[in-house]
Amino acid sequence: MAEFLDYFRKERLPHIWCPGCGHGTVTGALIRAIDKLGLDKNKIVMVSGIGCSSRAVGYLDFDTLHTTHGRALAFATGIKHAKPSLKVIVMTGDGDCTAIGGNHFIHAARRNIDITTIVMNNSIYGMTSGQYSPTTPHGMLGTTAPYGNVEHEFDVCELAKASGASYVARATSFHVTLLTDLIEKALMNKGFSVVETLTQCPTYFGRKNKIGGPVELLNWIKDRTVNAKAATALPPEKLAGKLLIGELYKAERPEYCASYAETTARVQRTYNDYKGGNRGCELNSD
């Protein structure tokens, strides 16, 4: 077991996230999960897009890729396709994943490619000074929603589940031990795994909505969530307006890279011993 800070590029710390930002907590949880599983540092690739959350890879001592806005999953798909032996982890934010890269997200989930995606959902565009994002809850304030957000928010977990992801979980930056366990399970899952983490943005979300600092925001997040296991025993009126945390969905589905390799092997077996002739294509020819 290596020291915790050995996974970081120490010369780049302390990071530039705001005091009390939840992204650091989620990055720490990810490192603890990797450390617990004992994964090889040189076999892990971290990919991120643009945004506060996507700065995480710059501080981590793995092979990292900081890509264009929303396209982290597209780059990650390429990496996984070229070298399926690598463990590919995507760190992305709510805007990066569901707004700008929404299309890449649903299609990566549809393919069920073996990528672990950690969506840090702080419900706002923090880097560009607090515009509302697709995951800002209805009625909450932002720079571009001064009278309350008119739109309704995305449920990232339901989106991933409907698109075909094989592991979907949600945790918060308050429930850190749960978060570490879920990331660990997501890393072990063969297929597209999504861990949505609700994090706090004290600088914009907390200030605009007059919730307060990081501690009040964490308490607000805690009050908004119910554990999925506990929710089965609770009456429906107590679950109104609450988000479920924990492992929400797990399914066995064929993984993309494995299916692709299988197809390649099947086609090669058919045509490798080609000795001339029409290769069984006579049925298709005119």
């Binding site: 302390p14 005091p19 009390g20 992204h23 031990t177 501690v215």
Partner: protein, 91 residues
Amino acid sequence: MAEQKKGYFHVIREKYCKGCGICVAFCPKQLLVLKNGKVFPERPEICIGCRMCEFRCPDYAIAVKPLEDDKHPVKDVSSIDLSLPPEAHHG
């Protein structure tokens, strides 16, 4: 005979601490305080070692370690072989 109570000490990386107060607010024993905008363990002897401050710290500024820890020797500059390139230390 009752088992002897385990003690813990806190590693504070003051350079990293931004004084957000998350660890202070969520410590179950309320033993941490903010001093000049940095975290300070006021009563480390009552620490129960739950490590929630360490897990929740967004800045990796605090770590809780058990006292008399032989398995994890303190790592400092003197233990690093500087004749090797930094890539050689990769896990």
